[in-house]
Amino acid sequence: MIGLIVVTHGDFGRQLIKAAQVILGEQKEVWALSLYEKDGLETLRERIGKILKEGNEQSEGKIIFVDMVGGTPANASLKFVNDKKVEIISGVNLPMLIAGMNYRQSFPLKELARLIRQKGKESILDVKQKFLDKVSKVKNK
């Protein structure tokens, strides 16, 4: 199974995983790493490296989700940029994490990463506009 690691500023990632589990139920092979004020770049790199080593031989790879490009979680992840079994995706949100959990047994690593990025982009909508469009559609039926 492809592993999912969510690396963020503060507890955002931990709580995001909890939110996804409310919807999908308990999940295996999921890790959260939180960056606090006391933590440096090197500590975070080490913690990511440790998780990547877990079951690395038979593992189908891992996806590192980070909150934003330029932040320490993203910078720390870049240490693993040459690892072919690792994909790194920024801007993590709930639909992206859910897509990762839902499809990680259906797609190989690179395709899963592409699907997650696509789901993330599709999840940002003008909700008022979309709703009003639907209302007018329902009324015209």
Binding site: I23, L24, I98, N102, K134, V135, V138, K139
Partner: protein, 164 residues
């Protein structure tokens, strides 16, 4: 294939339905059955927004649902029936529709109800409806998401009613 799952969930269509149950059971037609929701344009729009683009959705009154099911309209689909309450399920069965098993996913707390499971609270009327469904031989399993343990809701109700 026809009707794959019958569920009571008073939030009707939400994350657990769209991202979990529908994907697992490959549902392609969601059918919400409730007389009030069927006449509410806002709710209809809201639900049609909540589902994936390729999925069909029907929001029907109990009478409309009876017609559609008895006419075999969902025979080619993998359909999921969604109800707000056990009373609505009972009502549909009493109108001649056969239902063997009902999944109870969420019935939320409001004053006057009693919480019997993490996501299930029931009123006296709910309990009566469940008892009647049980008498008619309908299997009633409480389960929020597919990976949760299946719980026989009648055992919980028996325990609760014996306490009183």
């Amino acid at each position: 294939m026809g009707i794959v799952l019958v569920r009571i969930d008073d939030r009707l269509i939400h994350g657990q339905i769209v991202e979990n149950w529908m994907k697992l059971l490959k549902i392609n037609h969601l059918i919400v059955i409730n007389d009030f929701v069927a006449s509410d344009q806002m709710q209809k729009a809201l639900f049609s927004m909540a589902i994936p683009d390729h999925t069909k959705i029907s929001i029907l009154t109990i009478a409309q649902a009876r017609e559609a099911i008895l006419n075999g309209q969902f025979r080619e689909d993998r359909a999921m029936l969604l109800f707000i309450s056990p009373q609505d399920v009972l009502n549909l069965i009493n109108k001649g529709v056969k239902i063997k098993e009902v999944n109870i996913g969420g019935m939320h707390y409001s004053p006057g109800k009693k919480q019997i499971l993490r996501a299930i609270s029931v009123s006296k009327e709910d309990i009566q409806a469940f008892q009647e469904l049980d008498r008619l031989g309908v299997r009633l399993e409480a389960r929020m998401v597919p990976d949760d343990e299946k719980i026989d809701i009648m055992e919980i109700i028996k325990r609760e009613t014996e306490k009183e």
